[in-house]
């Protein structure tokens, strides 16, 4: 009797979360994918139209812009991985003030992206922000009004996002560096290997999994990005700073086009899985080799 009870209780305890997984996540995903093949507009309309929403989507200039921007955003944000690694390496070797530096580099992560966006919009303000300060000391060649210009707006968003996320990648890199065998530093010192070669040829290759994780998390973050766009530009000027995550929300709320939004969301899901797959694969391979 007790044995049966002990088998039943954990399964009962798991049942709510299984229900959420099946009905909300799996069911929700299937529902949205189904909607993307229908003619739904403001309300669901279950007449199937095949790939019409997708065809329209890829003819929509704003969607194409949002995909291009996602690539630009991801490439630009690589700076935060590189910068995060440099900071982590320096902090790791420099015993003094580790806690202070870590606190300073990580604090932007504790702040809402809406606040981050607001702060940076203020810094980019041409009349009252940083540009004006430079102009007032005669450096008129400084242009920092990036958000007003379609050709530079993405760089402004990248800058704000690098400020926000560098600390996060630094923290991941620090834990990666801490797991490296201490003997390596000693051996390198004994052999007189210059430190930059040690990092390029030994440390970075040893940390490939950490780098890969950072890269994938960054790309998934780019696909999802929404708050920062709302807070900084609202996809403007014009359509210049659209990103997929913003486009989909906008298609549903502003354009009131459910089927269209569902098609965009389905593409987002596909992108996320395409990015997620190598991570899962690496994790599985690592687990197998460790076991």
């Amino acid at each position: 009797m007790t044995i049966r009870w002990s088998r039943l209780a954990p399964q009962l305890a798991l049942s709510p979360s299984v229900a959420v997984t099946v009905f909300v996540f799996l069911g929700g995903i299937c529902w949205t994918i189904y909607l993307s093949f229908t003619a739904s507009r403001r309300f669901p309309d279950y007449t199937l139209v095949g790939f019409r929403q997708y065809v329209r989507l890829f003819k929509d200039a704003a969607w194409i812009v949002s995909l291009e921007n996602a690539v630009i955003f991801a490439i630009g944000s690589l700076a935060s991985i590189a910068f995060g690694f440099i900071l982590a390496a320096l902090i790791d070797k420099e015993a003094r003030g580790e806690a202070v530096f870590r606190t300073v580099f990580l604090y932007p992560l504790a702040i809402s992206l809406i606040v981050t966006g607001l702060i940076w919009r203020w810094l980019f303000n041409p009349d009252l922000g940083v540009e004006n300060v430079f102009h007032s000391i005669g450096w008129n060649w400084v242009h920092f009004n990036w958000l007003a210009d379609p050709s530079t707006v993405m760089y402004g968003i990248i800058l704000a996002s690098v400020w926000q996320s560098t600390g996060f990648f630094m923290a991941l890199m620090l834990s990666g560096l801490k797991s490296i065998n201490v003997e390596i530093w000693r051996a390198a010192k004994l052999d007189g290997v210059p430190f930059w070669r040690l990092y390029l040829e030994v440390v970075i290759p040893m940390m490939k999994l950490t780098f890969l994780t950072c890269l994938i998390l960054l790309c998934i973050g780019v696909v999802k990005a929404y708050d920062i766009i709302v807070a900084m530009t609202n996809a403007g000027p014009g359509d210049a700073s659209y990103l997929p995550g913003y486009f989909v929300i906008n298609a549903y709320w502003q354009k009131s086009n459910l089927g269209y939004a569902a098609a965009g969301a389905t593409i987002m899901l596909l992108m996320t899985f395409a990015l997620f797959f190598p991570l899962a694969l690496f994790a599985a391979v690592r687990r197998r080799t460790e076991a």
Binding site: S17, L90, A95, I111, L118
Partner: protein, 304 residues
């Protein structure tokens, strides 16, 4: 660096070791200087916002962005808290603060209780399909919100919690369940198996083992999960915007509306003060419990 270990003694014997150590010095100073400059640059945005929030609008118009205020004034802070207009309603961010609290508290209690029991059942009890289920959760934790947005809107409408703070809290519970469960599960896996095995022979009761053995051991991971949820829920914008409707908007949504509302002239100092008030709760938690925060965000990002 300077522990007298056997390896270092051997180094000291070599005559070339000493000059190299001295030669390392300038590079160390350079590294330290680089860190300091980077740290300063990271602080500039926060500094500008704090300074601006204490200025009067006349002083802001002078454009001396980096100067300290000549006259320190708290006007912006009081108006940001109680009078600033978000659209047509002028109640400041205090309205959002109250809403955020009403969202935060139930979502914290429910999500942590839910994820903890799930993680416990899936890790310490031998449920055959637990591993497959955990992998499904791992996938779910990466699913973009947009793909389940419409189904969630419909579900909350059916349950008639759409547009209430409790509805927003419920959505947070659902969305955070996969990652929180995985965090708890990973922690529980580190509990010695013998301990649980002994307890199972002893009482065998699922809930007694949970409350008498597992829960008292989970202090640290509870703090990590708590911080992850507090910062996640407090800083959330999209869920609050989607499910809060008019009456249940969290602080971030109100803040964004205040910043966009320009009727009656835009007072930048008020925007900055409102932004600081919105940022304050998670920032304070971060400064007090930084170590747990780091664990939380790194665990929240990768683990499976």
């Amino acid at each position: 660096m300077s522990q007298p270990s056997a390896a270092l003694d051997r180094v000291a014997v070599a005559p070339r070791a000493r000059p190299r150590r001295r030669a390392l010095r300038p590079s160390r100073i350079a590294a330290f200087a680089f860190l300091c400059v980077a740290a300063l640059l990271f602080c500039v945005p926060l500094y500008v916002v704090v300074v601006t929030s204490f200025k009067s609008m006349d002083e802001i118009r002078l454009g001396r962005t980096f100067d300290l205020p000549h006259v320190w004034t708290l006007d912006a802070w009081t108006s940001a808290w109680g009078q600033a207009c978000s659209g047509l309603s002028c109640g400041g961010v205090s309205v959002g603060f109250v809403n955020s609290m009403w969202i935060l508290i139930p979502s914290l209690v429910l999500s942590i209780a839910f994820a903890m029991v799930t993680g416990y059942a899936a890790s310490l009890w031998r449920v055959k399909w637990a591993n497959g289920f955990l992998f499904a959760l791992f996938i779910c934790s990466f699913v973009p919100f947009q793909i389940i947005m419409y189904p969630l809107i419909r579900a909350t409408a059916v349950l008639s919690v759409y547009g209430t703070t409790f509805g927003v809290a419920l959505i947070h519970v659902v969305l955070s369940m996969p990652i929180l469960t995985l965090i708890f599960r990973n922690y529980f896996m580190s509990i010695p198996q013998e301990l649980i095995a002994a307890a199972m022979i002893d009482s065998g009761s699922f809930w007694r083992i949970f409350f008498e053995i597992v829960l008292p051991m989970s202090g640290n991971i509870l703090i990590v999960a708590l911080i992850l949820m507090v910062t996640g829920v407090w800083n959330d914008f999209l869920v609050g915007l989607t499910f809060g409707a008019q009456g249940a908007q969290p602080m971030t949504v109100i803040l964004n509306n205040i910043a966009l509302t320009t009727t009656g002239g835009n007072n930048y100092a008020t925007d900055m003060a409102a932004a600081l008030m919105t940022a304050a709760p998670p920032l304070i938690i971060y400064l007090l419990l930084g170590k747990f925060f780091v664990q939380g965000v790194t665990a929240g990002a990768i683990k499976g």
